[in-house]
């Protein structure tokens, strides 16, 4: 018994093969891993908070987000639906966000009303610096859970989705 030549060779092959596989995996990962984002992230100045009147939602293209005013409370809502990432448009007639992909609906504060989305719309932190509204797009706050709504969920008119 003891260590035989055959045992050493077999183990050697296994270790060598394992190392090779690891190296291959590492190389592929280094090659294929996504490059960290540049440009679009960071702080965006939005001007005076008074520009955003109650009951409106304004799209900010630079940050791909909506600035919504719910009864005087301002929110920076990510345009990306928490469900599967479709862009959520604001429907003027109903005063709600309506996702065209699978029918999730959110109120003007981004809170979940109906549909398959697991939570409300994601937000970015908003601050006021020198009377100017600033949104930090590098940070994301997950949307509120179902049933924790603080703002009204009824629509003010007919929905946009479903009309073609």
């Amino acid at each position: 018994m003891g260590i035989t030549r055959r045992y050493v060779l077999r183990t050697g092959w296994k270790i060598g093969g394992g190392m090779l596989a690891l190296l291959a995996g590492w190389t592929s990962w280094e090659l294929l891993r996504p490059l960290t984002a540049s440009g679009a992230t960071g702080k965006i100045k939005l001007g005076s908070p008074a520009n955003f009147t109650a009951g409106t939602a304004t799209f900010v293209n630079q940050g791909r987000l909506w600035v919504a005013n719910a009864d005087g409370h301002l929110f920076a809502l990510s345009q990306k639906c928490p469900h599967l990432g479709c862009r959520v448009p604001f429907c003027e007639s109903s005063g709600q966000f309506e996702c065209p992909c699978h029918g999730s609906v959110f109120n003007i504060a981004g809170e979940w009303i109906t549909g398959p989305s697991p939570r409300g719309m994601d937000q970015h932190p908003l601050t006021v610096e020198n009377d100017e509204l600033v949104v930090d797009t590098s940070k994301k706050i997950n949307g509120a859970d179902h049933g924790s709504n603080k703002f009204p969920t009824d629509s003010k008119g007919p929905a946009c989705a479903g009309k073609g």
């Binding site: 294929l32 891993r33 996504p34 490059l35 984002a37 679009a40 992230t41 799209f59 293209n61 791909r64 345009q79 469900h83 599967l84 990432g85 479709c86 862009r87 959520v88 448009p89 309506e98 996702c99 065209p100 992909c101 699978h102 029918g103 549909g115 398959p116 697991p118 929905a159 946009c160 989705a161 479903g162 009309k163 073609g164």
Partner: protein, 468 residues
């Protein structure tokens, strides 16, 4: 000069050579007697059983087929030729895909323009793209039908379990092809279908984030995504598919052609495994790979004389008694099977050409990350999943259900141990499978035909929102 060649042709005749050899008459025949010709084609074309067998053995392409196949394989009902049609569609996709590669740039600034150019500026460009698209749709359909057919025939059972698993792998690769190819035109349809698809991956427990990042290659779908999908579509997936397909077809032969097995299952199975339902000729063929050229020659000869061939070297002693075949029920693959295959291949080509002429592949507006079109639908084979997603939590509907179905399917042969292939003995398996199938079809039909903007219910007679 000519005499000399004929003489040297005489010299290279060996033990494999049939006795009958066509006389060198006319230019064409003399050409076929030259050394150069004989270096390419070892054996003359002889319409004798032995000649056909030799040609099959010595030709790499014909060698894909067994020299002889059981007569039942010739019947259309045996397989409906679905596996073969899928293979033909794959080759059509390779050819049209290569054409498209000459004109397509995988860049977000150029891709859409290339598609427009293909449509208007390049002769037959639109037709090639249409044929590519329709073949892709048909391939998904045919691969699924093939799976359904094999299931109902019980042909996934021992000894074909592993080939079934490879088949499921082929289905997954086929869907991967569709998904990656979908993004390439870079229009609204592709952008949003792929957005929905990649966000689905996000819900995979633990690795979801990393997987999505790897697939997208950046914070959102953009240039890195397009390039990745392109590389997957034109290089990685074709290689994978070719590899799987090779093993799949090889195993169809080596595992034997499926037989319907009833109550007498056990015995038939034993005989099957040992010598196989492979014909005697196929067994002969198996030895063809050995180093000794004399053996296949001998067996081929025996075969030609109508003797049964038994390879004692590779067969268990018991099986020799098990394998008692009274009549030879096999026919030559050439011409009987191959001619049928040519007809089916031509029919397939004609079908996709007709579809390509009749219906243009869609091209919407250029991809716009700021505008989700209404409705944003996935391609039809994923639309059932999308329908499911509108009812359930994405983790359940998007990950657990499809992965569960795929895994269950893949390992089906290992837990369905029932040896019978006749439906009256497999009531449970058939009813479960049929139920899943019906649910999938119903979900797909609802999603594809009955859903409009906002995923609201719109019957197709009011307005059709079908996306192909």
């Amino acid at each position: 000069m000519i005499d000399q060649e004929a003489a040297s042709g005489e010299q290279i005749r060996d033990g494999l050579e049939p006795d009958v050899y066509p006389v060198a008459e006319g230019r064409w025949q003399r050409l076929k007697h030259t050394d150069a010709w004989r270096s390419m084609f070892r054996h003359p074309q002889l319409d004798t059983p032995r000649g056909r067998a030799l040609q099959g053995f010595s030709n790499v392409f014909l060698h894909v087929y067994p020299v002889k196949v059981p007569r039942r394989v010739l019947r259309l009902r045996y397989s409906w030729r679905l596996g073969f049609i899928a293979t033909v569609l794959f080759w059509i996709l390779v050819v049209t895909g290569v054409y498209l590669m000459f004109f397509y740039t995988p860049s977000v600034t150029a891709a859409y323009g290339d598609m427009q150019q293909l449509r208007t500026g390049i002769g037959f460009g639109q037709l090639i793209r249409n044929v590519h698209r329709w073949s892709a749709h048909l391939m998904v359909l045919v691969v699924v039908l093939h799976l359904v057919r094999v299931f109902f025939a019980g042909a996934y059972k021992k000894p074909r379990e592993f080939n079934w698993v490879i088949g499921i792998g082929l289905l997954a690769v086929t869907l991967g092809f569709s998904f990656t190819g979908y993004l390439l035109p870079w229009d609204q349809l592709s952008y949003w279908a792929v957005t929905v698809g990649t966000n689905l991956v996000n819900y995979v427990p633990i690795f979801g984030g990393i997987l999505t990042d790897l697939l997208i290659g950046g914070p959102q779908i953009g240039q890195p995504t397009l390039q990745r999908f392109y590389a997957l579509h034109v290089a990685v997936l074709p290689l994978l598919l070719a590899l799987f397909l090779m093993v799949h077809i090889w195993r169809v032969r080596k595992d034997g052609f499926a037989v319907r097995r009833g109550a007498a299952g056990a015995f038939a199975e034993g005989a099957n495994e040992l010598v196989g339902s492979e014909s005697a000729a196929d067994a002969t063929d198996a030895t063809d790979a050995t180093d000794e050229p004399a053996i296949p020659a001998a067996t081929a000869l025996a075969l030609a004389n109508g003797d049964r061939v038994r390879l004692l070297g590779v067969v268990d002693r018991e099986s020799v008694t098990a394998e008692e075949r009274l009549t030879d029920d096999t026919v030559f693959a050439w011409p009987h099977l191959i001619v049928r295959h040519v007809v089916v291949a031509l029919g397939t080509i004609a079908t996709v050409l007709a579809l390509g002429v009749a219906f243009a592949a869609p091209l919407r507006d250029i991809a716009n990350p700021n505008l989700t079109p209404e409705p944003a639908k996935a391609p039809w084979y994923f639309v059932g999943l999308q329908e499911l997603l509108s009812h359930f939590d994405p983790l359940i509907a998007g990950i657990f259900v499809p992965a569960g179905v795929l895994l269950t399917l893949a390992f089906l042969p290992y837990f369905d141990k029932n040896p019978h292939t006749e439906s009256k003995y497999r009531k449970v398996a058939i009813s479960v499978f049929a139920t899943i199938l019906v649910i999938a079809v119903v979900l797909t039909v609802i999603g594809a035909l009955f859903r409009g903007p906002g995923w609201k219910f719109v019957p197709p007679w009011q307005h059709s929102y079908l996306e192909m």
